[in-house]
Symmetry: C2
Subunit: 234 residues, 2 copies
DNA sequence: AAAAATTTAAAGTCTACACAAAATGGAAAT
DNA sequence: ATTTCCATTTTGTGTAGACTTTAAATTTTT
């Protein structure tokens, strides 16, 4: 089914612009014609051209400045953009059956490294939760999480035997700022046991620090099973 | 300086909507009023409301469907979005002096695992380039790259002694599709030597497969120095 | 020359309106 | 009861035009 034909869509314009860049017709660092001229060339309104170019700029292909015009970026800012799934969803997307198990959960005083990392006051109380996520009976992820009690007082009453702290937190304080770190770490004896890998195995790890309006809420260290690969298309 | 006051900007609407979600006024899974109603409530046009809600949907806060309306996502699709820097930029951003060294560069027949991975025809020729990136004299990244000669014939004449294949490729065939993978791998004897770490050390690794209009162009395996952390804010 | 003020070109955003496309919910037919 | 069809609602996108904001370029002043 073809779209009604005599009108130019912003998507067509995006396509065309990208093609002209790819083909070298519009070289990196060169200026595009201004919106008015493009509108005439594409026989559409400036509004439509504006949307197309604005989105291409958001996507990192163009640079736009008032009065200066629109420029092809020489080193396109390729942006990886991937969604952070809940463990449950990730396991189920792979066709596995998600299973959760609490390892330990206890309130304690924040250790020094944690206080430093989250900029806590000395001696602030935190809840330390450790748990496992399985795909069927295969270990999938070991979670080592610290929750600042003062930032989320309800956590004292929370019960993590049935559902994990992540799902609980998402329910309780939804929209937060997050700092996400990826790294490779080494399985120590304890972790090797939980993930069922040899000690010393390289483990893909993500650390997630969550803030609610400037207040540190939680630090989670997530250790993935051996061989885990995080993939995204750009 | 205050903006001209009696008009509502789409940014204000975005802010307000987010606040109402945060405050619990609009619960997860609930329907928002439709665009027409919101336009009246904000005393602006539907166009402006549309832009605000569309962007919030792009950012993963809302779900919109024709006829069904606009819904608050219960598990907001938090999207990590980070730019892929060139190694040079990354080193220099950390205050280091970037240095590049070619290890080896040779044309050969694609090994079977590579043919399979990139969906090459059997026996297709590739250029195999290995090189090091340093920050000052500290190893920063070891790069192991395969380039499909048929997709980039110019590569036969390319000289990688002075600049790395990545910078060369970015110049030569700018806008491509990329599949990006993150994983933790183990330093074998050779890699341990290049990165100056003990053998067996966990190494943060990214693999990048690049396609140009469906044609496989290159597979790069990038091994980062010990302790490397990739961080992003959401 | 250098600095300050002015002009002006380009993108940014809004209004107002129209029609298109999708998908839901209900009505009709099987 | 199930399927097919249709009306209706809601978002998606376009046109036309206006005013705003930014910042580059020019002119004027120091």
């Amino acid at each position: 089914m073809t779209r009604h034909s005599d009108t130019t869509s912003y998507k067509d314009i995006k396509q065309t612009v990208l093609e002209r860049i790819r083909s070298g017709e519009w070289r990196p660092d060169s200026l595009l014609p201004n919106e008015q001229e493009l509108a005439i060339a594409f026989s559409c309104t400036r509004t439509t051209v504006n949307r197309a170019l604005r989105e291409l700029a958001d996507e990192g292909f163009l640079e736009r400045r008032r009065k200066a015009g629109t420029r092809v970026l020489s080193a396109p800012q390729r942006q990886a953009r991937f969604t952070i799934p809940l463990v449950r969803d990730e396991v189920e997307a792979m066709g596995g059956t998600y299973r959760y198990a609490l390892v330990s959960s206890e309130a304690c005083t924040a250790p020094d490294w944690l206080s430093a990392r989250l900029a806590l006051r000395a001696g602030q109380d935190v809840m330390h939760v450790r748990c496992m996520h399985y795909s069927g009976n295969t270990p999938f992820q070991y979670e080592d999480r610290w929750i600042v009690i003062e930032s989320v007082p309800q956590v004292s009453q929370a019960d993590f035997t049935g559902t994990g702290p992540n799902e609980w937190l998402v329910e309780t304080i939804p929209f937060t700022n997050v700092e996400l770190t990826f790294l490779a770490s080494r399985a120590d004896a304890s972790l090797a046991g939980f993930l069922d890998v040899p000690e010393g195995e390289p483990i893909f790890t993500t650390e997630r620090i969550t803030w609610l309006q400037g207040q540190p809420v939680t630090l989670a260290k997530l250790y993935f099973a051996a061989g885990y690969r995080m993939t995204t298309q750009i």
